[in-house]
Assembly symmetry: C2
Homo-oligomer: 350 residues x 2
């Protein structure tokens, strides 16, 4: 033991002398799309970075850059693929313009619950399909599921939603495939990062916005501007975040380093879901005490939104082969999942 410590000491001294880490060490810059103080959505990135340093005894060090400090939130994929940064942490649905299939791995309207999604992702070939999806569009990244949260809310509005007509002409921030659904209904849909939404809502640049779940929306302060927080979040029953790693960096990592990244990200998926489920109830109860209406969108409106969603999904599948493949794989899984889901869980009326 003494000899080993002495040897390690020598090696450590060499590293200090050259002023650089060992060639086998990983030093990654990781811009993130979400502030790390946002529960479940941003917090997993910070946890993963810390955990990688501790668990690897410093052999892996990931430096997190808060949104916009190094790379704008919507430029993360391109920057990682180009090797400008080694890694990034984001909601990959933001890139649906460049990679049409990514929303199926990020949030599907009227889609899977989070635990069904992780089932499909880890055991139904989802992880492998996602790698192929990026490579087929020329992006040089390895994508690792690295956080998931439960449903978003349907968003923040000045008034209730009582019919599909209410969306007509509404200036709304809405992400992913859900945004395409609202566009079909005549809404003027814009995209902007979370950090810009409060001001846009306050100034009237937008009339309404969805962003995330209560524990997050409270931090962004939407309840201070509008009073209707509508449910359920039909457009995002799960929201998945990924760590994107430049493909050359990933290929150059050792088996041990890869295992560490994979295990840390998979752990972050548990922690993200847990944090949201733990915190949302109390925040939502607090909203209600302060006069926020936590109303349900009427069932007939939801049914119509579902029908329009179906059209959007089929249009996207017709346009892009990767979308079609992932969509059909998910639908195939859901056929039998339904048999389980309908029986396994306790009815709500007990």
């Amino acid at each position: 033991m003494k000899l080993l410590k002495a040897l390690t000491g020598v090696a450590g001294a060499i590293a200090l002398t050259t002023g650089s880490a060992f060639a086998d060490d990983l030093r990654w810059k990781m811009p993130v799309a979400f502030a790390t103080n946002l529960p479940g959505l941003g917090s997993p990135a910070a946890w993963v970075a810390d955990n990688l340093t501790t668990a690897s005894n410093g052999s892996i060090q990931v430096r997190v850059y808060e949104p916009g400090k190094l790379v704008p939130p919507f430029d993360i994929l391109q920057s990682v693929s180009d090797g400008k940064v080694s890694a990034g942490y984001t909601w990959i649905g933001y890139d649906q313009g460049k990679v049409p299939a990514v929303p199926l791995f990020a949030a599907v309207p009227f889609g899977m619950k989070p635990w069904a999604y992780i089932g499909w992702y880890y055991y139904g070939g989802g992880h492998e399909l996602l790698q192929e999806t990026y490579h087929n569009k020329g992006f040089k990244v390895h994508a690792q599921l690295c956080g998931i949260i439960g449903p978003e809310t349907a968003g923040w509005y000045a008034n209730k939603i009582e019919s599909l007509d209410d969306y007509k002409g509404m200036k709304i921030r809405f992400a992913g495939l859900g945004g395409k659904v609202l566009e079909k209904l005549g809404a003027s849909v814009t995209m902007m990062p979370g950090g810009e939404l409060y001001q846009a809502l306050e100034k009237g640049t937008i009339d309404a916005t969805e962003f995330s779940m209560p524990a997050i929306d409270q931090i962004l302060g939407f309840d201070q501007v509008v009073k209707y927080n509508l449910f359920p979040g039909w457009h995002q029953q799960f929201t998945a975040q990924y760590m994107l790693i430049n493909q050359d960096e990933w290929d150059g990592a050792s088996d041990s380093q890869k295992a560490l990244v994979e295990a840390s990200c998979t752990a972050a998926t548990t922690l993200g879901l847990a944090e949201g489920e733990y915190k949302n109830g109390a925040v939502l109860a607090g909203f209600q005490e302060n006069g926020i209406h936590a109303d349900q969108i009427p069932t007939d409106v939801l049914k119509k939104l579902k029908a329009v969603t179906q059209e959007v999904l089929e249009e996207e599948a017709a346009k892009d082969a990767d979308f079609k493949r992932a969509y059909e794989s998910q639908q195939e899984f859901l056929k039998t999942y339904k048999v389980w889901d309908e029986r396994a869980y306790l009815p709500a009326d007990l």
Copy 2:
């Protein structure tokens, strides 16, 4: 770099010469309560052992012993606490006779869904309460949540359950607090490990049994003996498994090794839930095609089971301070969780 590799080579040669691992390395024997071929329930233990070896570059090696090969399934806690083995992997509810509060961390009748449980465990103080619970009863273990699955079924029966009277005189294998509920209803409740159940059911030693979820029960073959697989599993809406580690072993581990065990176990929690949710639907659909009745227990029977459960939980809380503390902590969380749960998820009738 060349010098470092040379140094590592020397160190490796020393290890070979002495024939032992370095003092800082961990070499753990880990008996498990569930065969590692059981999806979600047994598989996480094997995954964690493999992952720890890879991620630590061999510094941690956990050797898994299948059920009964080293330690009988129900003796795992005691063996780990006594230091006869360094670690064990089990459903901790088996020890409710010695540690009355453990079922609250393992499976609560009419209790939390898996994602609510992990919320409470990781963010609501559950992890810390569990350590105190063991220490208060004199057990020297560190407990790490290391796998969770969704609902069990209500079990396997020769006939439907149509009233509470059907449980009277029934010889049934039923675990945890659910077993106490059925005892109150006049059932003759026995406990035995999963590996012994098929034979007991076939020979008529028991009339009925619960064990786990369809993807697991199929492997154990209950569908070959009786034809009613009833739902929902009111007694175990979540089933949590833990890695128990001898306290001295845990205290002696480095920060890096602790972080590796924690991250691997937390990742195994994601993977366990995912594996079950992915596999159960197809297995259950297969059962139905082969004439197994996947029937619901009538709502009025479930309501009565819930009322008796309430009595059992209150009796246990009155008898044991740790039970009371954990029970009240869970109930407090559920008050606000309900506000979220009722609104966030899509209604089933869309």
